[in-house]
């Protein structure tokens, strides 16, 4: 079975490019040239060099003795938290800034939830000498303030978004509006595998370095290239897409996607899209979407700003529909507990988003010789305030 998109950007029945005419020129330009550009030798060379020398790749694949002991399986952590800027987001922004340069764009816009994508975008813009504007929901500006300060220090302008639920969805709306109003000089660096074709496929390709490395590193460490499980959290789904990418056609590898359960899937305060959503169209693609009976988008909830999104990328909607991936959800509490556990057992403070993936270790019955890779998509520095509040409340 083919889990990649076709030339029109469809993953099965999901994907496509449902965009207003005002975005048509930019999107069709990207559609017609992205493969040629990013598969060219010069691009690949530059991308690879920056990933290693600038972002610090390959990120380690770390065997966790103590988690392995506890969960009675062989647990490896893919350390995307050790990348420059603290998450997997840098993989995509390096790729897209090189693309933007080749397209002759001089102004970069981005949306951000947790601020990790905003920081990663501001970072590559600083290096490339391009103007950078980041849209961020006002709620997220408040709960991820260290990242807001970083973006400013890096020279980016952060525009707080006051519409809707004031989180990631609304920041994305505002970035799209900016692009409509600035179609000529601007490139929009989308931060996940969402948006109109070719973004989902393009971002997945840039993130696929994660699973490319996992295969090589596993082979070195265990003699086998494929694990039994790959576990990743899903907001829009870019770190999961990157972690799954080179295993999609290895059916023996179980792919586990972990969504944000919020306060519980049935509480009305959740972001577990596959459980709560139906097929629908948002931000330019057809995917699963949390929505009311008459097609209005439901405002999601998660303690983690990066997972607080009412949709998922079309690739994941298709993986869900075809049962290629299994979708679980972790609540706020489960994620916080998992973050604390990893911190105290391994000395690694994970991002709240990544903590959702770690929480899934509690939910799966492993066999003793199972090889399990958990993608630690980012580090928890940005979440210290949330963590502290939680620990005070449980003490």
């Amino acid at each position: 079975m083919n889990y990649q998109s076709d030339e029109k950007g469809y993953y099965g029945t999901f994907g496509g490019a449902f965009i207003p005419e005002m975005m048509q020129q930019n999107i069709s330009q990207l559609q017609s040239c992205y493969i040629e550009i990013i598969e060219s030798d010069s691009f690949k060379e530059e991308f690879k060099t920056l990933l290693s020398d600038y972002a610090g790749r390959p990120s380690p694949l770390y065997y966790s003795d103590r988690l392995s002991d506890h969960y009675k399986a062989h647990i490896y952590l893919k350390r995307e938290d050790l990348n420059h800027t603290g998450s997997h987001k840098i993989n995509n922004t390096i790729g897209q800034i090189l693309l933007a340069k080749r397209l002759g764009k001089t102004r970069i816009i981005a949306e951000t939830g947790a601020g990790q994508h905003g920081v990663a975008t501001a970072t590559v813009c600083a290096r490339a000498g391009l103007e950078c504007i980041v849209y961020m929901g006002a709620v997220d500006v408040a709960r991820q303030s260290p990242n807001v300060e970083k973006m400013k220090m890096l020279g980016a302008e952060v525009r707080p978004v006051q519409s809707g639920s004031k989180t990631l969805k609304d920041a994305t709306n505002e970035a799209i509006r900016d692009w409509i109003n600035n179609p000529v000089d601007t490139h929009y660096i989308i931060g996940s595998v969402v948006g109109p074709h070719p973004y989902p496929d393009m971002v997945a390709r840039f993130q696929s370095v994660i699973s490319e490395e996992i295969r090589i590193q596993l082979k070195e460490k265990t003699g086998r290239e494929t694990p039994d499980y790959v576990i990743a959290c899903v907001g829009g789904g870019s770190n999961a897409a990157g972690s799954f990418y080179h295993f999609l056609n290895n059916p023996e590898v179980k792919l586990i996607a972990v969504e944000a359960g919020g306060k519980g899937v049935d509480t009305g305060e959740s972001a577990a899209t596959t459980q709560l959503g139906r097929p629908g169209i948002l931000h330019g693609s057809r995917s699963l979407l949390m929505q009311t009976a008459d097609g209005q988008v439901i405002e999601p909830y998660s303690i983690s700003a990066g997972l607080d999104y009412p949709g998922i990328g079309p690739m994941h909607a298709n993986l869900f529909k075809t049962h290629r991936a299994q979708f679980l959800s972790a609540t706020d509490d489960q994620a916080l507990k998992a973050a604390l556990y990893l911190s105290q057992k391994e000395g690694i403070i994970p991002a709240l988003e990544s903590a959702h993936a770690l929480a899934a270790l509690e939910m799966i019955e492993f066999k003793p010789d199972d090889v399990v890779v958990v993608n630690v998509s980012g580090r928890g520095d940005k979440d210290m305030e949330t963590f502290l509040k939680y620990f005070q409340s449980v003490k």
């Binding site: 449902f18 965009i19 005419e21 519409s163 509006r177 409509i180 109003n181 008459d294 209005q296």
Partner: protein, 262 residues
């Protein structure tokens, strides 16, 4: 295909005044009264907005009206209910404008059927791409005599404009500049060059110019280059406030007419 839009374009080739408003704003049940008053005051064509939670092609004014309309309880179902008897009192062409997701959830064929039953003549669905319309929806729309209206912008290449022209069976919605709704029309040289470029293409479909048309002056400027123009945000702005809804509509429309109707 014949409907009220095609007849209007046939009968009145110039200075067509089209007005947009968001259904359910400012009050849930203003819809019918706004339409009736608009017709009475001389609107040639009326675009009824179906509010959506995430209107990415819209500026702050229509974002706000959509938000209010939704919190008032507006739905497509209710809109059809409100418009059930509209053809007893109103004869100008009516167009429903909105984003694809709510329409898709309603069901495309069901939606088109309801439009036909209600006396709706056309649709504007900005995020329904030409290609998808052509492949999946065209037949259904035509079966119910609905004109789907496509947008062009200053960025749209000539070849695509020609394609849109061939697919159109109403007018072409000419977006005045590269922008979301409600951004002020500039009237600068670049914009005039774009208007002239489109005019010189001699398209088979007539064009109405929209986005940023806010008053009589900008209407008249635009109307020189097309068959007329569309006013949205400026009208929606005029609907705020405490006066009876008919007064607000009337006061706004007076600005576009030489003599008062009242």
């Amino acid at each position: 295909m014949e409907n009220r839009i095609t007849s209007l374009l046939h009968q009145k080739g110039e200075n067509i005044l089209s007005i947009y408003f968001t259904a359910g704003y400012p009050e849930l049940n203003d819809t019918k009264r706004i339409i009736e008053e608009l017709e009475r005051c001389g609107a040639d064509l009326i675009e009824i907005g179906m509010p959506f939670s995430d209107p990415v092609a819209d500026g702050p004014v229509i974002q706000h009206s959509s938000e209010v309309a939704l919190s008032n309880g507006m739905t497509i179902n209710l809109l059809f209910e409100q418009l059930k008897e509209i053809r007893k009192t109103v004869s100008v062409p009516l167009i429903l404008m909105g984003y694809l997701n709510p329409v898709m959830q309603f069901g495309i064929e069901e939606f088109c059927l309801k439009c036909k039953e209600t006396g709706i003549d056309g649709t504007i669905i900005p995020d329904l791409p030409l290609e998808v319309y052509q492949e999946e929806y065209k037949e259904i729309f035509e079966k119910y005599s609905l004109s789907n209206i496509f947008l062009i912008t200053p960025q749209t290449p000539e070849q695509r404009i020609r394609m849109i022209d061939l697919l159109s069976n109403g007018f072409i919605y000419m977006v005045s500049s590269s922008s979301t709704t409600g951004v002020k029309e500039s009237g600068d040289n670049e914009q005039i060059a774009y208007f002239e470029r489109i005019r010189s293409m001699n398209l088979r479909s007539k064009q109405l110019i929209g986005f940023g048309i806010s008053d009589k002056a900008s209407f008249e400027r635009a109307a020189q280059y097309a068959s007329g123009a569309i006013i949205g945000s400026a009208f929606v702005t005029a609907l705020a406030g405490e006066m009876p809804i008919e007064h607000k509509v009337n006061a706004f429309m007076l600005k576009f007419l030489k003599t008062s109707i009242i």
